[in-house]
């Protein structure tokens, strides 16, 4: 085995072994079984073939990516070699914050089966470094000792959220030939000859231990098994074809019908078909009833590949009567393996996706506050809408850089994204969209969850940058993370390019969340322009989410070229209703019984009526608990925060300080205010000059039996009231002609003065 460490910038030459095993005319692809890699300076070539475990060049030379080779094909020109792989991850590829989920120290040679449907599993064939040996270790067994360093062990499965026990059958290479035949238990019920033990063994222990595998040998052994049970396999082939027909798109079916030899069916065929129908039905019903079932379905389908390998794949090379069929079947079956099955369940994609949404979010509910749930639900629904729109619009599809795929594959793949784990939800939107999220004040929780979302899914591959526009003082300071003004056209491209390079393996989508968008306003609006221009670029894989608290921000401040780049999706958030506020408080209380029910309702109703600000609501509650804490020592109350405490807190927060200020003002200040009102009444205006008021003031002083103040004192009093903003004053340079206005209503002033 060629050790990857020796790969030091060596020139490698790639060459197909043998003739293409099949051809997809529609996709213009030719499929191969193996490829040989000749390394400069080495005599023997390394051959990698389907099912083998391979190393793929990554950014870390010591730890190249590990994968299992599933398919090898070349495109029309024959130049570009592409490999479809099943990824494995090393511990160092698991996000830092998730590593402790393993619960133990990883074995240095341990890798994990990577289950993430959003992950792009097509790689350039010329990034393959060579083969590697992987050994499956059952979960309870210890890691074998004394083995070569080159062997990697796989024990667990990593599904981007948790480590799970790996079903060894998942490790079997899903055969690229036929669509899945009936399940293994189906075979048993029909008392078929059990799968060839040697084949089983080979499949279990990993086929690839034999450095190279000659296709001829393989097919000959399989041909034998084909001949031994030719009829049944024929039935299986038929039923498999039926299944693939069910899952593939309409035009595919048409072609299949053309070349289907199903005219003369034997009794066994019919039986097999009925049985197949049965299993399919159960599968479908299972799919429809439980959305979670989907994951298990995909597992089951791959499990079938054991049989495929045994009796179906030989058809591809050794059944002269159906050469065409296999070609189509093979491709469609494999391509549709996981995603297309979903189609059954998603006849009404929107409904299904929504239902799924509900399900997906239910476990999160407990952790997240209601508002974050609501927010994400809205995000989701808008996305579904968007995707439904996309489906009817091929131009959009093209622009997403998905040109290679045909539509029927594209559709379920799209919807598939919806069902992925909620944490990664946002990362998996394939289309680029920008949303302006209208933010209601006080939605701090939702903000924080989103932040964590961005950071949670930031393994070393995802370059996620969060710009906090409020931190830099001007938008100009926000630009270091965003392209600088001087080279607006060039830089973002570079950033994206870097991002794409680093995402070479897992082509993850980047979500850029920009809070307080209105602060990014500049005169030329370059920052905003670039921000919204990025996602419109080809292959950007960027989602720009911006948040602002102005309802008509695009209309008000954006110039046309910026506004036109902005996506159509705009989400506005209404202020919280009292019920939601109540829910927020209860979720924050976390089932601690601290508030009386009525008190909670009072707070939430009061805040909802005023602003709907969740932060304010929580602040009031906090203040109320403090008040309760202080009074609690004196009274023998229940210890809960009651109505009285809440009322006190509310009074403290909402009472106007003006009246208290007037009441506590000195005598001359009060007299001056009285004089102001008297003068206003006399003039019939809401404005007077200091001179006029001063005359009134002196008169009032005499009435009150005080020594009349002189101008300087009068002006001092006036200025002091002005500094409290009880009066609105002009600049003091105007002296006597200083104009005075009241900043409080006259009634308030009179009320405050009368109460003395």
């Amino acid at each position: 085995m060629s050790r990857y460490i020796t790969r030091l910038r060596m020139r490698r030459a790639y060459k197909w072994n043998g003739r293409p095993v099949s051809k997809d005319r529609k996709l213009k692809r030719q499929y191969y079984e193996s490829m040989s890699i000749s390394v400069e300076g080495k005599t023997e070539d390394v051959t990698v073939s389907l099912g083998q475990y391979i190393l793929i060049e990554g950014d870390d030379d010591d730890n190249p990516f590990v994968a299992q080779l599933l398919k090898l094909y070349t495109d029309d020109s024959g130049k570009k070699k592409t490999a479809v792989v099943q990824w494995f991850v090393r511990m160092c590829e698991v996000p830092q914050n998730k590593r402790k989920l393993l619960g133990r120290d990883p074995h240095p040679q341990e890798i994990f089966f990577y289950q993430d449907r959003s992950c792009d599993n097509e790689v350039d064939g010329e990034t393959i470094l060579g083969a590697v040996q992987i050994e499956y270790v059952p979960v309870e067994d210890p890691f074998p000792k004394g083995k070569s360093k080159g062997i990697l062990f796989v024990k667990l499965l990593w599904d981007t959220k948790s480590f799970r026990a790996l079903n060894p059958e998942l490790m079997q290479p899903p055969q690229s030939s036929k669509s899945p035949p009936p399940s293994s238990h189906g075979t048993q019920t029909r008392a078929l000859p059990t799968p060839d033990l040697s084949v089983m063994k080979r499949a279990m222990s990993g086929i690839l231990t034999r450095g190279s595998m000659s296709t001829g040998k393989m097919s000959s052994s399989e041909a034998e098994s084909l001949h031994s049970a030719s009829k049944l396999s024929a039935a299986k082939a038929l039923s498999a074809k039926r299944r693939s027909r069910a899952v593939s798109g309409p035009h595919v079916r048409k072609k299949l019908d053309l070349c289907s030899p199903s005219k003369n069916m034997t009794r066994d065929d019919v039986l097999g078909e009925i049985l197949d129908e049965h299993t399919e039905k159960t599968l479908t019903s299972k799919l429809n009833t439980s959305p979670t079932g989907r994951i298990s379905i995909s597992i089951r389908l791959t499990r079938l590949n054991l049989n495929e390998e045994e009796c179906v794949s030989p058809l591809s090379s050794h059944s002269p009567d159906k050469p065409r069929l296999t070609a189509y079947d093979k491709d469609d079956a494999t391509r549709a393996r996981t995603p297309s099955r979903r189609k059954d369940a998603l006849r009404e994609p929107a409904l299904a996706a929504l239902a799924e949404e509900e399900h997906e979010y239910s476990p999160v509910q407990t952790a997240a506050t209601p508002c974050s749930k609501r927010k994400s639900a809205q995000l989701e629904s808008s996305r579904i809408r968007k995707q439904l729109n996309l489906l009817g619009n091929t131009v959009d599809l093209q622009s997403d850089g998905e040109d290679g795929d045909d539509d029927d594959c594209f559709v379920p793949a799209k919807i598939d994204l919806q069902s992925s784990s909620d944490e990664e939800e946002e990362a998996k939107i394939d289309s680029e969209d920008e949303l302006i999220v209208k933010k209601r004040r006080g939605s701090g929780t939702s903000r924080s969850t989103e932040k964590t979302r961005v950071s949670a899914r930031t393994p070393r591959k995802t370059p996620s940058k969060k710009t906090a526009p409020a931190t830099p003082r001007t938008p100009r300071h926000a630009t270091p993370s965003i392209p600088s003004r001087s080279a607006p056209a060039k830089k973002p491209g570079n950033v994206l390019e870097e991002a794409r390079v680093s995402c070479q393996k897992l082509q993850e989508t980047t979500v850029l969340l920009v809070d307080e968008l209105d602060l990014l306003w500049t005169r030329k609006q370059n920052v905003m322009y670039n921000l919204f221009d990025w996602p419109t670029r080809r292959n950007a894989r960027l989602v720009v989410l911006t948040i602002a608290n102005t309802m008509d921000l695009p209309e008000r401040i954006m110039i046309n070229r910026v506004a036109s780049r902005l996506g159509l999706t705009r989400m506005s958030f209404q202020p919280y209703t009292f019920k939601q506020l109540q829910q927020i408080i209860t979720s924050r209380l976390n089932r601690v019984k601290a508030f009386e029910e009525d008190a909670l309702q009072l707070v939430s109703r009061k805040v909802a009526a005023l602003s709907g600000d969740a932060r304010r609501c929580l602040d009031i509650c906090r203040r109320a608990t403090e008040i309760c804490e202080h009074s609690g020592s004196q009274k023998n109350s229940s210890g809960l925060v009651g109505m009285s405490h809440v009322m006190e807190a509310l009074d403290e927060m909402f009472s106007s300080s003006y009246i208290a200020a007037i009441r506590c003002a000195s005598v001359q200040e009060q007299l001056f205010l009285r004089a102001v009102i008297a003068e206003f009444r006399r003039l019939g205006l809401e404005e007077a000059t200091f001179q006029q008021v001063f005359v009134q003031h002196q008169a009032l002083c005499r009435v009150e039996g005080l020594q009349p103040v002189n101008v300087s004192e009068g002006l001092t009093v006036c200025q002091r009231l002005g500094s409290c903003r009880l009066l609105l004053l002009e600049g003091s340079r105007l002296d006597l002609f200083l104009r005075i206005r009241l900043n409080v209503s006259q009634d308030d002033v009179l009320f405050a003065l009368k109460a003395d």
Binding site: H477, M653, S657, V667
Partner: protein
């Protein structure tokens, strides 16, 4: 010998008297504040409680102290000095920032880049901490309303944001005299502010006011010469009718202690060796000086001045 003793006594009295004058002047002029604010006990307690919560429980808080000029905001600053809370590890950065911000008030756009860098650094430092491990930080923003006039209210936004999120416990105390300061805040900043306000309106009665005057003028018990201080402290100055009238007048004009201090300062300055105690006349004279109409004074002076200038001009032109 007698003569010698007399001289000695005289020197001693002078010494005592100058000592007393110095002490009182310091008290009045250097704003040596009383230990506790007068008549504001509940507010004082509230604030201390809040700061205690930040210090002990690690809760972040923000509070605004609103009161008219000269009624005890500075007292808060004295509290700040007493509390060791301000001793943070990034104290220097903090100082730097505040210095820069004050600078920014004056210089405007000139400290641009460094401001952003500093703030970023400070935020970074604050965000690193969590509730349990890091020391609480107390920010006292004097003249809070001026911060609200900064562009985009960046500093307030960030400080209050830190106080809202579970990062390093932070207490932001704003001091202002404007009652409508909350209306100056942007919506996003306002929402982050906890809406706690302490109003320090002095609901001082006249008798309390007189007590304060008496307390301000009395010499402390540890004065070197007890006989002198006794004599000084037992003068019935405040009971005299005219003095009361003067004080009443000042009380009516404002309850502000700063104004009172300037009045008393003038009075105390008039004490000399020949008149070793503070007398009614001193206070009267001081009051007359303080409450004189400045414009009228100017006019009085101007008459002479303009007269002089006119003559001067005339003489020059006639030459």
């Amino acid at each position: 010998v007698l003569c010698h003793r007399l001289v000695y006594l005289h020197v001693f009295i002078m010494h005592c008297q100058s000592n007393a004058q110095k002490l009182l002047r310091e008290r009045l002029c250097h704003q040596k504040l009383p230990d506790r604010p007068v008549g504001l006990d509940s507010q004082y307690k509230h604030l201390l409680e809040l700061l205690r919560r930040t210090a002990v429980h690690g809760e972040s808080n923000s509070i605004l102290i609103v009161d008219p000029r000269g009624s005890g905001k500075t007292m808060v600053r004295s509290i700040k000095r007493c509390t060791p809370l301000l001793m943070t590890r990034d104290k220097i950065a903090l100082k730097e920032i505040t210095r820069q911000l004050h600078l920014e008030n004056v210089v405007g756009d000139k400290v641009f880049g460094s401001f952003a860098e500093n703030l970023a650094f400070l935020l970074e430092a604050l965000k690193k901490g969590d509730k349990s491990s890091s020391r609480p930080v107390l920010f006292v923003l004097d003249e809070f309303d001026l911060f609200a006039h900064h562009k985009n209210q960046t500093l307030l936004y960030n400080l209050l944001d830190v106080s809202q999120s579970a990062q390093t416990p932070v207490a932001v105390v704003g001091l202002t005299c404007r009652l409508d300061v909350l209306e100056l805040l942007e919506k996003r900043v306002k929402s982050r502010f906890s809406h706690r306000q302490i109003h320090l309106f002095s609901s001082l009665s006249f008798s309390q006011y007189v007590d304060v005057v008496r307390a301000q003028l009395s010499l402390p018990p540890d004065f070197p010469d007890p006989k002198f201080s006794d004599e000084w402290n037992h003068s019935k100055l405040c009971e005299e009718k005219s003095v009361e009238e003067i004080l009443k007048r000042h009380f009516n004009a404002s309850k502000d202690f700063c104004a009172l201090h300037s009045l008393l300062f003038l009075a105390v300055s008039r004490v000399s060796v020949s008149r070793s105690t503070l007398r009614e006349a001193d206070l009267l004279e001081a009051s007359r000086l303080i409450s004189a109409d400045s414009k009228a004074n100017v006019l009085h002076g101007e008459n002479l001045e303009t007269d002089f200038y006119y003559r001067h001009d005339f003489s020059i032109s006639s030459l």
